[in-house]
Amino acid sequence: MNELIFFFNNVVVSGLVLGSIYALGAIGVTLVFGILRFAHFAHGDMMTMGGFVAFLLASLFAAWGLTLPVPLGFAVLPLTFVITAALALGIDKGFYAPLRARGAKPVTLLIASIGVTLIIQGMIRLFFGTGTYNFFEGAPKELYRIEVPLEEATRTINFSQPQVLLLLVTVVTVVALHLFLTRARLGKAMRAMADNADLAQVSGINTALVVRVTWIIAGGLAALAGTMLALDVTLKPDLAFNILLPIFAAAIVGGLGQAYGAIAGGFLIGFAETAAIFNWSILLRPFRDALPEFIEIPNNLALVPTEYKLTVAFIILVITLLARPTGIFKGAST
């Protein structure tokens, strides 16, 4: 039983947490792709930027002596959302919009996103250095333990406070996004433009407005993802660049341009990663005595060593590209 709880903590809980982060990131990537038709490689850095915005705000409030029952980094999320969305709008105006106005191809925008990556990274490193920051200043994160009402179970199912908040944020975001895309006029216009940009223009849809809304959502969600990730682990300048691959893999697996696909893809990759690095021999141990002598359970039955976790997202990506390049939800084709 304890083994099962261990499995639950390491695969299900961790998978949910990772999946949430990936999903929040992938939604932004997929929306930007759907509307502007280019892979926005600076998205990871937008997430990191959001994390630092939250950190600045939290430090500011902490300096004023504010204390709350939830982490300050979480309490400042709405403000972080707004500020990062504004920054995303500014980035579009300063870097991408002039190129679009010139009629540049999407791939030029892709290259321009390298520039944005470098500028965001450079700014963060310039002001914050290369070290890591912690929202919790040494105070341990609160841990919620859920007792399993069974005799043999001595372990507990564990969620840290940031993890619970992250799941909450993800659920709220997904529901809000769903309502926006299916009920709001602008949300529908966004889907229309992702579906057929020429026809959207012909219908009189204000495409410039849709582009702005896209950046607001993408930037805002990046801020949520970055902040929650930084709360769960620590904040550092390459916080999200390292998870760019799983995020893009999630967006592609879900079908580029498909918001729901990105959510599904995010969780798929999150669970696949935690399952792949889980040491399955732990689950077999209880059966040790039942097995004949000559079968020995190896100590480590992880499918992939932890240091190669990245390969999991990559392999899923490659399989998707080979077998179904439009993704499981039929996104943009070649």
Binding site: A112, L118, L245, Y308, A313, L321, P325
Partner: protein, 428 residues
């Protein structure tokens, strides 16, 4: 070479000369050699992107593969490893890998015995999994053994460094072949993410495979194709002179390589091969309709570009005399090269070389310039009674990332075709 190109290269020479006055002969000679290696790498990217229109965000991977090759070929033999059971264990690994390969290939041919569709796919998945398990069952103990013995790793082969560079090119070609097979023909965005993924995986592998690469423990010093400064010192040269002389000799070797490559590429690009490449780049569909085998031509060009990157990466490691997988970053080893090519002029070999030499020096200069600036600012702040800037050194070395971002942004905006643009046909 037209007048514009000559003027730019003349200015570049002056730029290096002025920098040399500030930095001194030893440092500017080091920067010049490194810049030449980057020119080779940028040429590789120019072939892929400028000629072939193939996106590559995985340059770092090719450089690391090259560095690994240079290390393995030219580092002295590790007698302790060869005396241990290690070679035998690795032999078993090779056999296991071969068995796995046979399984996978056999499953790929399953249609010949009437297994098709879903069943074949299932069989292939099982074969891949079985191959993986067989391989892991041999490699894990072998690795544990080698890393536990005094040998620690398999060591090098003790051969000439130039052989290491060649092997770097070959190895990079092999990796490029696999990447190309999987991802060429996909839309650009997918190619970009696939290549970035592979280069990250290569980094993870090289960093963690201590038995093969020594990982982050690193080994040094590596041998040079010319006498190294320490060799010159042993021969009685003054320390300061030894660095300059050694590096200038290294520069000579690399210059010969670069000139040769440049000559060959220029010729090929001016001929029928180049015309075909441009046709494919600018219009896939029409080229395919004309009966060109677009995909295998693209694979060719992707491999060719990667070879140059592998050689350049190997040369850089040889020059540094140390291969440190921990020091590779996408910013310094992938994006930097993109900036070089975009600023120099994609599609023009002279542009690529110019961009590499110009951006590399700027990149290295901006560190020093920022430090100078920040120190001045910090001192001024202190005299004003404010606290100075903390960690000036580490902050200013980050300044160059910012500058690089600004440079590529300005280039895309104001000279989208680069300073020495492609002469054949306008794009974008």
């Amino acid at each position: 070479m037209n007048r514009r190109t000559l003027i730019f290269f003349g200015a570049l020479l002056a730029y290096y000369a002025i920098a040399g006055v500030f930095f001194g002969a030893a440092y500017i000679s080091l920067l010049s050699v490194q810049a030449l290696a980057f020119a080779l790498i940028a040429l590789g990217l120019n072939i892929q992107w400028g000629f072939g229109g193939l996106f590559n965000f995985g340059i770092m991977g090719s450089l690391m593969v090259g560095g690994f090759a240079a290390t393995t070929i030219s580092f002295p033999v590790n007698p302790e490893f060869w005396a241990s059971d290690g070679p035998a264990l690795l032999g078993q690994v090779a056999i296991a890998a071969a068995i796995g390969a046979v399984l996978v290939i056999a499953a790929g041919q399953a249609h010949r015995i009437g297994i098709t569709g879903r069943w074949k796919t299932t069989l292939q998945v099982i074969a891949w999994f079985a191959a993986y398990v067989i391989y892991r069952s041999r490699i894990d103990p072998a690795v544990a053994y080698i890393e536990a013995t005094d040998a620690g790793w398999i060591g090098g082969l003790g051969l000439h460094p130039i052989l290491g560079w060649i092997f770097g090119g070959v190895l990079a070609a092999g990796v490029a072949y696999i990447i190309g097979k999987v991802s060429l023909g996909l839309r650009t965005d997918y190619l970009a993410i696939a290549t970035i993924g592979i280069s990250e995986i290569i980094r993870a592998l090289i960093k963690n495979m201590d038995w093969l690469t020594r990982g982050t423990l690193t080994v040094s010093p590596l041998d040079w194709p010319v006498p190294r400064p320490q060799d010159l010192q042993a021969m009685g040269l003054a320390i300061a002179d030894s660095f300059v002389v050694g590096r200038v000799a290294f520069f000579g070797v690399l210059l010969v390589v670069l000139a040769l490559v440049l000559y060959l590429v220029q010729r090929a690009y001016g001929g029928p091969w180049g015309r075909m490449m441009r046709a494919i780049r600018d219009n896939h569909i029409a080229a395919a309709a004309m009966g060109k085998d677009v995909k295998s031509r693209q694979l060719e060009i992707f491999i060719f570009g990667s070879v140059l990157m592998g050689i350049g990466g190997a040369a850089l490691v040889t020059l540094n005399q140390i291969f440190d997988p921990g020091s590779y970053q996408p910013i310094n080893h992938t994006f930097l090269i993109w900036v070089m090519l975009i600023v120099g002029g994609a599609g023009n070999n002279w542009g690529a070389v110019f961009g590499a030499l110009f951006i590399y020096l700027t990149w290295m200069l901006s560190d020093a310039a920022a430090q100078f600036l920040f120190n001045g600012l910090s001192d001024w702040m202190v005299t004003m009674g404010w606290p100075g800037i903390p960690d000036v050194q580490s902050r200013s070395s980050q300044m160059r990332v910012l500058i690089l971002g600004v440079v590529i942004t300005l280039a895309l905006r104001y000279t989208p075709r680069g300073l020495i643009p492609e002469t054949y046909q306008a794009r974008d």
